[in-house]
Amino acid sequence: MRGLAAFVLALFPLLATPVAAQGWRGWDQLSPEEQRRAWDNYQRYQQLPQQRQRMIEKRYQQFQTMPPQEQQRLRQNYETYRGLDPGARHEFTEKYRRWKSDRH
């Protein structure tokens, strides 16, 4: 918990950059549905081991520095990934393992 608080504090300079300022919205600016979604994910995040939380925080920093088009590309890919049926998702997972293994 303290780690996340420190991380959020460390983010303030980053949030001042134009890239981040374009997309950042405060809690009150989220729609009720978005708040619910963020709340669900927040609860889920709290259940993750600290190691995973740190990894996600690093990725968040990385994501924030991406150009908007790249962020949009990842969002679209996520929607595609989410829409895969169980068989296709299993196949994708196998391919991911193979891809990762080949890469190293």
Binding site: E33, E34, Q35, N41, Y42, E91
Partner: protein, 215 residues
């Protein structure tokens, strides 16, 4: 690799987030360590049982709150460096299995007798999929699909957000809006390359391992 380290890696392994070398080290440990294998098997069995339960199930609010409370306390204790071993390590596997079975039996029994509150848990994927089309283009990421272990720990998903959110959430709502993307970021960054990867019939380094879910 020691058991404690192996257990730290298990979550990442389930999500396919381990580097191949780490995965191989974990596999080697599992091959040599009967206790960790047994723990993995017990967890898998429990998840199978949970998966067979009805999708919608309500628990008495007091039981739910008390369970969550105890789990948070336990997690806090586990994180403390002063404590050499996590609390659950002191429990034997049979004790855990009996406790889990008792909770499940209680939940199913209460449901049958219609004693529990009628409030049911959302089906978040459907709701989120629908809502993601209604949301603005900036944030169309749906609530993350339930991880089996998390679904087990977080039966109250879909609860209304508080009017006064925790500071972490209020300060960085984007982090939590984008949590599913962040969890799968490597896959999403190389999505096309992965999709075009061919699965030949050659020896897979993961052969002999248990299938892992994509998370």
């Amino acid at each position: 690799m020691r058991c404690r380290q192996a257990q730290r890696l298990m979550t990442s392994s389930v999500d396919n987030e381990l580097e191949p070398r780490q995965q191989q080290r974990l596999d080697r440990h599992l091959t040599a360590c009967a206790a960790c294998r047994q723990e993995l098997a017990a967890t898998r069995t429990m998840l199978e049982v949970v998966a067979r339960l009805p999708a919608e199930m309500a628990l008495p609010p007091r039981l739910e709150e008390a369970t969550l409370h105890r789990m948070r306390d336990a997690a806090r204790a586990e994180r403390s460096e002063r404590k050499p071993t996590p609390w659950w390590r002191s429990l034997s596997l049979p004790a855990l299995a009996v406790a889990a079975a008792a909770v499940l039996a209680l939940a199913v029994g209460l449901r049958q007798f219609d004693v529990v509150a009628t409030r049911s848990v959302d089906v978040p994927d459907r709701v989120a999929a629908k809502s993601s089309h209604q949301a603005g283009p900036q944030h169309q990421v749906a609530a993350e699909a339930p991880h089996p272990r998390l679904a087990r720990q977080e039966p109250r998903r879909g609860s209304e957000p508080p009017k006064d959110p925790p500071a972490e959430l209020a300060s960085a709502p984007d982090l939590f809006m984008d949590l599913p993307i962040l969890r799968h970021m490597e896959k999403l960054e190389h999505f096309e390359a992965i999709r075009t990867t061919t699965l030949d019939e050659g020896p897979d380094p993961a052969d002999g391992q248990q299938e892992r879910s994509s998370g």
